[in-house]
């Protein structure tokens, strides 16, 4: 069953929630962090269906209502396959936003009084819940500490209703009826109240899927208004019948007693045959078809079972009739919502055409006017062309097509159905939104303070050298970038060991030796740190060289550390050369670098995205987990930024593809030409 359903605002306030079992707040938090903020692993979804998100033992499904800034999240155990929660989400979204539209739109609203949504929600669950298809291996999971209504009490409630059929209904004891009648789990008793269509051991509360039966005209005064739900759920069931056809009848045999208890005509029912789908095979039998107008007063028995509860609890009080009426409406509404959401998914928006020349002319003029003055509600058509322009603009800035498209999609979802601010044109609105999206992509989740990290590693009782390694494809400027970092570290008076782990390309060691000679000359003159080269010639395994270098820096465990920082240069490799690439994994595991930086070029025409992806995926630890929280590497160094002017799109492409932040930019030929990334600067260049 469901574990929790939450409705929260984008500002993080939970407006309404229902927990069937305690769910740690961190579960939803990580959904927000990973999917909404970091936008990781999200496919572009145009159908409105979001892929489920898994965390710990839970599966989360979610949807959002952008215009009011709400997010709807369902949490359930991953063991269960609840295919109906999508419908639930759609229905809840539509109903909630409609019911509380005015309150939500109020400025500064931080709470919405939505106590009464409990009832709507319960009714919805009851209507939509078609049970779960459970993976056979798992014996049990539970619905948690729900307020379970023991079967006996339910049954007695039912009997009450029948007993009282001619007497005035009892006054409800409490206006707020017991939480839901939903998870009526009757484990101990064979009498299963809700004859669900599911096969599982745990009966799932799906009263609505029960077939109608047990006419009991006598109780009609209690149930008249419920005819609607009964009818509708019947309809829904039919609609669903095909969808959930995997489940088979489970409890038909147990129905006799319970129905008797409810005082229904059981005889008619026992003859019923069931088909493979768990529905009465003689479904269309006129006698049983209580959805016919003549028999409107007889709802389905499962329905009634719960209705009695409900009638007792809420409808009989001061609000007689009203609650029922609402529920009846609700049922039809839900059907409409679901139908419309399905049809809109199936048929891709047919563009509405304005009628008549005059109509289109005026609408166009007012559209132009609104474009200038603002206050225009943005439709898909309004956005299409300017977004296309924006995408082209990004492509011109050397942003990879994939990233540009994703950015534009996210801007589109951000702005769709929004209203432009006064005196703001659509273009300006799109620009601001795009700038925000770019800022979010480029800003690292936590900023990298390399010096602090180094200092805290080389000090204290567990002191050890800090290991940084540089990877990248051939000729992107690995060795140059490494020397720049070495220079920066030397300025901060660290002792640096440069390791030539490129044992492959001829001349690589010599090139590094030249750099190291220059650097030590420079640092001697300025009286800063010291630098040394560690090399073992060509042909040796890079991973072993790196490991030896690190143990050399620690002085092989004997006394004082000799170096503070170990900088490892690796062989450049084509990212599609699987043999060389896979050796990176071993390298990562043996040398255990604190930081792995990848060097990428800012130049036009490199397949930077594929490079970044392929490199990142090599750095898995021994457990097969990607390093650094599942992103593989710690940062990018983008070289040759001075040669591209404004076209710094590579930054965006690489970060977008991997979620790894850009930490340094190479901006020239000198050792000092290394910069940190200023996000504002980059966004400025991209939007220019």
């Amino acid at each position: 069953m469901l574990d929790a359903f939450e409705i929260l605002t984008t500002s993080g306030i939970v407006l309404w929630r229902k927990q069937y079992a305690p769910v740690s707040s961190s579960v939803v938090n990580s959904l927000i962090n990973d999917v909404f903020i970091e936008q990781r692993g999200q496919k572009s979804n145009d159908g409105g269906k979001n892929p489920p998100y898994r965390k710990e033992k839970y599966t989360l499904r979610y949807t959002s209502a952008k215009d009011v800034g709400l997010i709807f999240v369902v949490v359930y155990q991953s063991l269960l396959h609840l295919s109906w929660v999508d419908d639930l989400l759609t229905a809840v979204r539509a109903l909630f936003t409609k019911q509380y539209a005015t309150e939500l739109k109020k400025p500064h609203a931080t709470t919405v009084n939505c106590r009464d949504f409990d009832q709507t929600f319960d009714a919805l669950v009851r209507k939509l819940d078609t049970g779960s298809t459970r993976r056979p291996s798992e014996p049990d999971s539970d619905a948690g500490p729900v307020e379970l209504t023991p079967p006996s009490s339910t049954a007695s409630a039912g009997e009450d209703g029948v007993d009282d059929e001619d007497a005035p209904p009892p006054i409800p004891t409490a206006p707020q009826f017991k939480k839901p009648a939903i998870p009526q789990r009757q484990k101990q008793e064979s009498a299963i109240v809700d004859d669900t269509t599911s096969t599982d051991i745990t009966p799932v509360p799906t009263p609505d899927t029960s077939r109608p039966g047990t006419p009991s005209t006598a109780s009609s005064h209690l149930l008249t208004a419920k005819a609607g739900p009964g009818k509708a759920s019947r309809r829904a069931r039919k609609a669903n019948a095909t969808a959930w056809s995997t489940s088979a009848p489970a409890s038909s045999g147990d129905e006799g007693p319970i129905r008797k208890a409810k005082g229904g005509k059981t005889s008619a029912k026992q003859k019923r045959r069931w088909d493979a789908d768990g529905f009465a095979a003689d479904d269309n039998d006129p006698v049983l078809d209580y959805s016919a107008p003549a028999a409107t007063s007889e709802p389905g028995d499962g329905e009634r079972e719960l209705d009695v509860n409900e009638v007792k609890a809420e409808n009989m009080g001061s609000r007689t009739g009203k609650g029922q009426f609402v529920l009846k409406d609700l049922d039809d509404e839900v059907d409409a919502i679901l139908a419309s959401s399905k049809s809109s998914q199936a048929t891709k928006e047919t563009s509405a055409e304005s009628s008549g020349l005059l109509g289109s002319a005026t609408s166009r003029i007012s559209g132009l006017f609104r474009n200038v003055v603002g206050g225009k509600t943005l439709s898909k058509q309004d956005l299409q062309q300017p977004l296309q322009q924006m995408q082209n603009h990004l492509l011109e800035k050397n942003v990879a097509r994939e990233a540009a498209e994703r950015l534009c999609t996210s801007v589109e979802t951000d702005l769709l159905n929004q209203t432009t601010a006064s005196f703001t044109s659509i273009d300006a609105t799109i620009r601001t939104s795009m700038a925000k999206a770019l800022t979010r992509i480029l800003t690292p989740t936590s900023s990298l303070d390399l010096l602090r990290n180094i200092t805290s590693t080389i000090e204290g009782p567990a002191a050890r050298p800090y290991v940084i390694s540089i990877v990248g494809v051939n000729g992107v400027g690995k060795s140059t970038s490494l020397s720049k970092i070495a220079y920066f570290l030397l300025q901060n008076k660290f002792r640096v060991l440069v390791v030539a782990a490129d044992t492959f390309r001829s001349g690589a060691v010599e090139q590094l030796r030249v750099h190291v000679r220059n650097l030590s000359e420079l640092s001697r003159r300025e009286d800063v740190g010291t630098v040394e080269l560690f090399e073992q010639g060509y042909g040796k395994d890079a991973a072993t060289v790196a490991r030896d270098a690190v143990s050399n820096a620690t002085n092989a465990g004997k006394g004082e550390m000799l170096y503070d920082v170990v900088l490892i240069d690796t062989a450049g490799r084509r990212h599609n050369d699987t043999r060389l690439m896979s050796s990176l994994t071993k390298f990562g595991q043996l040398a255990k670098p604190d930081k792995i930086f990848m060097v990428g070029e800012a130049l036009v025409g490199t397949d930077s995205v594929a490079q970044a992806r392929n490199f990142a995926k090599e750095f898995v630890d021994t457990k097969g987990q990607l390093r650094n929280n599942g992103v593989g590497m710690d940062g990018f160094i983008i070289s040759k930024c001075d040669t591209v002017g404004d076209m710094v799109g590579t930054l965006v492409s690489m970060v977008h593809a991997t979620g790894i932040p850009v930490v340094f930019l190479g901006v020239g030929q000198h050792y000092g030409d290394l910069r940190g990334l200023n996000v504002g600067w980059a966004v400025d260049k991209l939007m220019k």
Partner: protein, 295 residues
Amino acid sequence: MASQSTVEAWLTWAFSPSISAILVTLVISLLSPILIHIYLYRKAQSKELPSFLLLGPSGAGKTTLLTLFANGTPSTTHTSQEPQTALCRLPSTVRSSEDRYRSEHDTSSRSQPQFLLVDTPGHGKLRHHAVTSLTSPGSLKGLIFVVDSAATSSSAGLTAAAEYLYDILLILQKRHTHSKTSKDPTALPVLIAANKQDVFTSLPTGLVKSKLEEEIARVRQTRSKGLLDSGIGMEDANVGDEEGNWLGEYGAREFGFGQMEEHGVDVRVAGGNVRGEGEGEGRVEEWWGWVGENL
């Protein structure tokens, strides 16, 4: 086409020298400025309420504090993605600075002042919201920097909080340096709210303060030695010098919040908790008091 001829007829009339056409034009030309004025006047809120900004790392309890101040009870919250503004009213137990000279026994009706509280997301990627609301003009009266006193006992949590606080204080300091040359500086006080004092593992307020100061000193040290960033030569090139980028007393080894006073930033540290052991019952009087003083 019928509609086309209608348009034509209408246009002919509009350009004809008939009295009615002239009158209509006259009315339109006279009314439109008035209407535009009314429209704009409505848009611009007649009186801006004073506002406070909530800042702090993710999970510190900003949004919870916002709901507590606005509604009297803390809501359940998750990570924020968007800023949120709420209208709050000072509780009657707290006296605002306006009421300072009012007699305790003055029974004349006294309405508690209202103010806006702006919550910002604390996630690393979303801090630009906070920075823009900080730098945008408005009647900002102060900043509340919320820290999780329990998280500051771990080094990672402490660093995260200190780095964010460092950035904010540096922005405030630069703002002050800038405004010295132009208009008179609007000094912005900062309240460091050491939240979650109810949690067993949380540090006491005094310790939170000293730990933050120590950590900021370290952040300041490495930042001053760090790489230049690529944004050099952008807007604030004039304060790109080393001294302008040094938070607090230039060259000092130690950092204390007292050093910020010289730069027009009054920092106060106060403890409290938004949520309590038992349901509800937080302890936020000190924070209310600070808000009252600065209204």
